[in-house]
Amino acid sequence: MRDFFKCQECVDLLTDYLEGNLEADVKDRLDEHLSGCAPCINFVKTFEKSKDLTSRLREQQVNIPREVQERVKSFLKEEIVTLSSERLK
């Protein structure tokens, strides 16, 4: 059996760990390290939290300037004229 994992190795493996992609023996060693390392426990929790918070950005959106919307509308109007005349052909 190799040495216990260091914090740095745990951090490197976190994405695979949380997504269940680690081999059983690697996961066991990581769990073993985590069971006794307070900084790593905080790190894992905050890493997961950060990932959850990031996924919430899906529900949010930015403002769009009024003039952008207006330019988009006139662009589409021109395109619609072309599309309509193509349909009539």
Partner: protein
Amino acid sequence: MVVIMKVRELDQRQVVEGLKALDTGVIDDFVDQYSRPLFGVILNYTKNPSDAEEILQDTLLKIIKKIETFREESDIWPWMRRIAINNGIMWLRKHRAKQDRTTHLEDLLPKFSRDGEFDSPIYGWTVDPEEVYLNSELAGELYEAVQSLTYEYRVPLVLKDIEGYSIKQISSLLGLKEPTTKTRIHRARLFVRERLAKYFEGR
């Protein structure tokens, strides 16, 4: 600034029928309703507002042209969102060379001592679960953190954690090998965590 999504006025049927008929009145309302959320999706792929505007125009035009292929029993928003994402990625693949290269990722990755332990203390966070929903400081901080990543890291992270794509899908969309995609997502997550840690510790 990040704000909550507004309620749409046109229902799906009106949108689909209006776009099919090339009804300019409906198309104006459609732009009012959907250009804002679509612009938000697109800004994840380019941070330049005039490029984003170009991609938005192209996305809306594609939606109108492709509306005949939309299956009406499904929800139209994910379908439009996908068109915006694909357009954003196509744009990136074309313009990759002139993209931003400003983040020094290493500066914000966790630091370790020579024996592999954390260099500085790691604190827990207290997050009010509702806090990030609103137009809050935290939501703004988070948005800025993601936006400050260079596209190589930002796009895989956005596709994974915001859009919910698989590693395999992301790799094929971006033309990357799967281990590369995974590494970039991992490092991007570490970066965002570190930025948020600074925010939580500072308040």
